[in-house]
């Protein structure tokens, strides 16, 4: 690890002031991803700002919805009665990720900022990686591409976002609250993470030095009718090959009034399945209709050398997640 200076801050102002001192400074919360990347030599901050003492670790009601402070641990978010009662899909997504030890350390803000687990990004002994070193190329495209993207990739990058939590937040239409030198901003979750395009070095739309303060969840009357389904190489403690967060609103005749579907493991950001959602509106919950909706969403999918299986897997995972969600009680 490269040497760095370290400071503990007590206020948000102090944090932003410290961060503005150097472009090579980083905030550290749980540190589970940042410290690992520092050991690998991928991240080389010269100054670490420990934000764990900031007053951002509360979960509270907010206009019928819920505000989760950026420093709430993944464990505390998943366990909290407000989350378990109102947004069980988020609780399920969080406990599907990592291990208990990591969830105890990891924060909500940090989870949003997890970097890709693309092997070629994570290991600097591969010289080609446009995300790590813009303009060097993409080793993944001629390498092992089993875990890579099938939707929204670019010629420059085929990495996927590894977060389970963010997939549920996408289906829930969460808002990310941030603050910085130039004031506060609210970023809809769909505009927070980005597709790689020509500049895959940017995972998200945060401006330099901005600090996430909370994640806000809107009131959704039917959010209990939901499910998070994660498919992976082993039963526990592995990143998703494909995952789906599904929330569905049904009337008395089992006709779909509204559906919210997001996919994980398939793209550079949590993939909101707008096309599938639209194809379901006003239709009965029948397997053929679900299949058709899944087909519509995955029509644009383009496999890499080793991951054509993800296309069919994504369709089946979506169908099963919707079926399971429909069986849950709405309230």
């Amino acid at each position: 690890m490269k040497p760095f200076t370290y400071v503990r801050v007590k206020t948000v102002h102090e944090a932003i002031y410290e961060r503005a001192k150097s472009p090579e400074a980083r905030y550290i919360g749980g540190g589970t991803n940042l410290l690992d990347l520092m050991k690998m030599g991928v991240e080389t901050p010269t100054h670490l700002i420990d934000i764990n003492a900031l007053p951002l670790a509360k979960i509270e009601e907010l206009d019928g919805g819920v505000r989760i402070g950026a420093l709430v641990s993944n464990t505390d978010a998943a366990n909290h009665p407000l989350i378990r009662e109102r947004y069980p899909v988020l609780s399920e997504a969080i406990v599907a990720g990592a291990s208990q030890q990591l969830r105890n350390m990891a924060t909500i803000g940090g989870n949003l900022l997890q970097r890709t687990r693309c092997y070629y990004f994570y290991d600097p002994s591969f010289t080609q990686c446009n995300k790590r070193q813009p303009g060097t190329g993409c080793a993944a495209q001629s390498g092992i591409s089993r875990i890579h993207a099938i939707l929204g990739e670019s010629a420059e990058c085929i990495a996927t976002n590894p977060s389970d939590m963010s997939v549920a937040l996408s289906a829930l239409d969460a808002t990310v609250q941030v603050t910085g030198e130039h004031g506060n901003r609210s970023i809809p979750i769909h505009e927070f993470h980005r597709l790689p395009g020509r500049n895959p070095e940017a995972d998200n739309t945060l401006r330099p030095g901005e600090l996430i303060t909370s994640v806000d969840l809107p009131a959704i009357s039917y959010a209990k009718r939901s499910h998070y389904l994660k498919v992976r190489d082993r039963a526990s403690y592995a990143f998703a090959l494909v995952s789906v967060a599904a929330i569905i609103d049904l009337d008395e005749k089992a006709t779909i009034r509204e559906a919210r579907i997001a996919l994980g493991g398939v793209a550079h950001k949590p993939w909101r399945a707008n096309k599938a959602e639209k194809a379901l509106l006003g239709h009965e919950m029948k397997p053929e209709r679900l299949r058709m909706a899944a087909e519509q969403e995955l029509k644009a999918a383009r496999p890499q050398r080793d991951n054509a299986f993800k296309i069919e897997l994504a369709k089946r995972t979506m169908i099963r997640a919707l079926m399971t969600a429909a069986k849950q009680e709405a309230a």
Partner: protein, 215 residues
């Protein structure tokens, strides 16, 4: 035996001490195992920490992980370094009652914390009930992952008692104590890898310890 003098004055140098001395050698700002402060620089930071009931106040290099601090500075070598990337769980310790991977936390981030390592749970003839259960049920073979497994398992019992859900907990389970089925134990222990494959004994040990606790 933590300064160059003592190294030169001793013929028999244990590997552990040699590593500690070597570390101090390259990082002049790092304190020695006895807590004596050497010169400080801008890449070190103060740390107050309680480990197994004993308070320590010192200055450490900012790069030192909690794991390396425990092993190389306090010589508490019960906590093991497996992968050093948060993937194996061998370094699991309890910080303020919660289990974490000590390899993915900087020592300086644990200022004011209370840490319990395997040495703090029990030793010799005075074993923690979870340690005794691992012995009783053959929850180990080579033993390298065992301190992490046991620290993890001790926390697991508390988490289930407090009603914390896992990925296999039924959603409609009321927010009360979670019953520790074998599936629950396996899921909740998935962050601790055992390359010898002693999982059957590990699950049996945790099951027994949880039942013993209830009895």
């Amino acid at each position: 035996m933590n300064s160059d003098d003592s190294l030169l004055g001793e013929h028999r140098v244990r590997r552990r001490d040699f590593v500690a001395v070597a570390l101090v050698g390259v990082l002049p700002s790092v304190v020695t195992g006895t807590g004596k402060e050497q010169t400080t620089n801008e890449n070190s930071c103060s740390l107050s920490i309680t480990v197994n009931g004993q308070a320590h106040q010192l200055e450490v290099d900012t790069r030192v992980t909690l794991l390396d601090f425990l092993r190389e500075h306090l010589h508490l070598t019960g906590t093991k370094k497996g992968c050093d990337h948060g993937q194996c769980g061998a370094c699991t310790v309890l910080v303020n009652g919660r289990r974490i991977n000590s390899c993915l936390s900087l020592a300086v981030m644990n200022d004011g914390s209370k840490v319990v390592t395997i040495e703090g749970l029990g030793s010799g003839d005075n074993l923690h009930p979870m340690q005794a259960a691992f012995v009783e049920h053959d929850g180990l073979q080579c033993g390298y992952c065992t301190p992490g497994q046991i620290c993890s398992a001790v926390a697991l019992l508390e988490e289930a008692k407090a009603g914390a859900p896992s990925a296999v907990t039924k959603r409609d389970a009321s927010i009360g104590t979670v019953e520790l089925t074998d599936d629950e134990i396996r899921e909740r222990m998935s962050g601790n890898i055992c390359r010898c494959g002693a999982y059957v004994g590990i699950v049996a040990a945790i099951r027994a310890a949880s039942q013993g606790e209830r009895a």
